[in-house]
């Protein structure tokens, strides 16, 4: 896998490191941020997001302050925006990415506060799958993939 290596993306990774440093503190935040940036650099944004969140678990063993989590998530959203120029439709990518992440994040946060984790996870995955499918159907309609063709040969 070749992650985007443009300067903008490196800048985005730097923002992630800074977010970690501010949210967690320089002692634990900078190493965690650097590790996350390394994963992002070599594997790409979604892996960096996953790795960064896993690294937060030992840092906040008893639960994190919402402000700290918000700062980290904002760092990842910034990374997503910085990555957008390397995508086929930068503006669509940035807006859709921020909106979808914010929407799914809000859903997870709300459900996590009121429901059990399994229920929250299930609803989150269902919402994610439904949106993927909806975009797929929209793509078919928008590009004419649903049109049918007549039999091409007549006797």
């Amino acid at each position: 896998m070749t992650p985007p290596r443009e300067r903008r993306y490196l800048l985005g990774l730097a923002v992630v490191v800074a977010a970690y440093a501010v949210a967690v503190g320089p002692l634990a935040g900078i190493p965690a941020g650097l590790a996350t940036a390394a994963v992002g650099y070599w594997l790409g944004t979604p892996y960096a997001v996953a790795a960064g969140h896993v690294l937060l678990l030992p840092i906040f063993p008893d639960g994190a302050h919402p402000l700290s989590v918000g700062l980290v998530e904002a760092g990842f959203l910034a990374l997503l925006v910085f990555e957008s120029p390397a995508t086929p439709a930068p503006r669509r990518f940035a807006t859709a990415g921020v909106a979808a992440a914010a929407g799914l994040g809000a859903l997870a946060w709300g459900l996590g506060a009121t429901q059990s984790v399994p229920v929250a996870a299930a609803v989150l995955l269902l919402a994610f799958g439904a949106t993927v499918y909806g975009l797929h159907r929209y793509g078919l309609l928008a590009t004419g993939g649903l049109t049918t063709t007549d039999t091409p040969t007549e006797p």
Binding site: T45, P46, Y47, V49, A50, G52, H53, V54, L56, L57, F60, G63, V69, E73, L77, T87, P88, A89, P90, R92, F93, A94, A96, G97, V98, A100, A101, G103, L104, G105, L107, A108, W109, G112, A113, V117, P118, A121, L124, L125, F128, T131, V132, L135, H136, Y138, G139, L140, A142, T143, G144, G145, T147, T149, D150, T151, P152, T153, E154, P155
Partner: protein, 486 residues
């Protein structure tokens, strides 16, 4: 839209992070799943948008060099794609070749991101006759995370025809026939649907025929008459004996006559007239379809005409529709000879009949051995009522044809479509002067047939070869004219 392996991996990662959140009971990880999921959706939305743009900006042209081809030939087909704006996606465009087309290689072109113009050409053959409509071209696009294919534009229609006559001339003395074969007008009024005329009532007209509206309008009784609906029973007599095989492959006498026979059958079908077929080979009748106007009959006649091949003298008559071929040739002359032998006795009965049979002996013996004559005669014997007989044959046996036409016209009008041998022989035009002389002789025979009552004779042949022969005639005439004035 289909995710690639990379996308599946990210989707799996989202699920894995969510599962880990459940496993360790830490909702914090759900935030990671949400952001990773958001990234996935953003990537998908960006791909959809880019594909939308590419599909809107792309114009694809599928252009065969010819729209009318023969099944034995191949034709180059060019696929050209042009983007109004360069795309960031990797694009490939595949031509919508019809299923029945066979291409030397896949007609497809790839466009790298940033490219705006590409074209590719390949040879395509058309092994199956028919109308082949190109499907829309298929645009396939990928950004490495998703891929999709969408139809783009529309395609032309190529008509592939089986190898056969190209320039069929049907006419008289080199002049092409203007009207379609088979058209006929009743020329009289009667019951029907098409209004013909409005006339004043005369004693004898039935009250049912009075047009009351016209009567009220014109203040005197008027009768509306309608075109009489007529039907002409048509019998196609198709000669496909060995002599009809003369000519280059695909352009034999039989091929040309077949084209005209098919056109006649189509015209007859269009007019709704009953149509029948009598196919005659070297050994007798090879197929007989009684005149009828059912769709099945039209199809059978057409199929039989398409299947017809020249026979050879040794060929026995084939079986048609589960019945053995009729005995149009066998038995007739032999029976007659046996009958005359039986009349050798010197009794009153024999004396009375002997002159009758003796007078017909030569005639019957001469033509009963000829399958075309015998077939037509047998068909006339079975026919009741008027019949339009259309004979498709050549000029190889003029005497036989003359007698055949004489028999055929007994039950109605006769159209003879004649293939002049001189126009078909492969080396026939080597000596164009001699060819012209032979054509003049043919024309004399054709005119003789046309001069018979209720008979019309037309020539059928390749138009280009006929033009060559006729121009030789014109050259000769101009030379002789100059000689006279010199």
């Amino acid at each position: 839209m289909y995710p690639t392996r990379r996308s599946w991996a990210v989707a799996g990662l989202v699920a894995a992070v969510a599962a880990l959140a459940v496993a360790v009971a830490r909702p914090l990880l759900l935030g990671g799943a949400a952001v990773a999921g958001g990234w996935f959706l953003a990537r998908q939305a960006a791909f959809v948008r880019a594909l939308e743009d590419a599909a809107a900006d792309l114009s694809v042209e599928q252009s065969p060099t010819r729209l009318g081809v023969r099944t034995t030939t191949s034709t180059p087909v060019t696929l050209a794609a042009r983007l109004a704006e360069p795309s960031t996606l990797e694009l490939s465009v595949r031509a919508g070749l019809p299923t029945a087309a066979a291409a030397d290689e896949e007609l497809e072109l790839d466009m790298e991101p940033g490219e705006t113009d590409r074209a590719a050409t390949t040879e395509v053959s058309w092994p199956t006759a028919g109308r082949h409509r190109f499907g829309p071209a298929t645009l396939s696009a990928t950004d490495g995370w998703f891929r999709d294919s969408v139809p783009i534009g529309s395609g032309p229609t190529v008509t592939a025809e089986p190898p056969g006559p190209r320039n069929v001339h049907v006419g008289e003395g080199g002049d092409r026939l203007a009207s379609a074969y088979g058209e006929h007008e009743a020329g009289r009024q009667g019951s029907g649907l098409e209004p013909a005329e409005l006339r004043e009532y005369v004693p004898g007209d039935t009250a049912d025929n009075i047009d009351w509206k016209a009567t009220a309008r014109l203040a005197s009784p008027h009768v509306r008459e309608y075109e009489a609906e007529t039907e002409r029973r048509t019998l196609l007599v198709a000669d496909h004996r060995g002599a009809l095989a003369t000519g280059r492959p695909g352009e034999t006498k039989l091929d040309y006559l077949r084209e005209v026979a098919l056109a006649t059958a189509a015209s007859t079908r269009e007019l709704g007239d009953p149509l029948g077929l009598l196919a005659v080979g070297d050994a007798g009748v090879t197929g007989r379809i009684e005149p009828a106007s059912s769709p099945r009959t039209y199809v059978s006649v057409r199929r039989r005409l398409l299947d017809m091949e020249p026979t050879v003298p040794e060929d026995p008559p084939s079986t048609v529709s589960g019945r053995s071929a009729p005995d149009a040739t066998a038995g007739g002359a032999a029976d007659l000879r046996r009958t005359i032998a039986d009349l050798e006795a010197d009794d009153a009965f024999s004396r009375q009949l002997r002159p009758f049979y003796a007078g017909r002996q030569g005639y019957r013996e001469r033509f009963d051995d000829d399958p075309l004559y015998a077939a037509v005669r047998a068909a006339q014997g079975r026919t009741t009522g008027r019949l339009w007989t259309v004979i498709f044959t050549d000029d190889a046996a003029p005497d036989e044809l003359r007698e055949t036409v004489t028999v055929a016209r007994e039950s109605g009008e006769v159209l003879v479509l004649l293939a002049p041998t001189v126009l078909y022989e492969p080396g026939g035009l080597a000596d164009v002067e001699a060819a012209y002389d032979r054509y003049v002789a043919f024309e004399g025979f054709r005119r003789e047939l046309s001069g018979m009552d209720r008979v019309r004779a037309l020539e059928v042949g390749p138009g280009d070869r006929l033009s060559t022969v006729l121009s030789a005639g014109r050259s000769r005439r101009s030379r002789s004219t100059r000689g006279e004035f010199a």
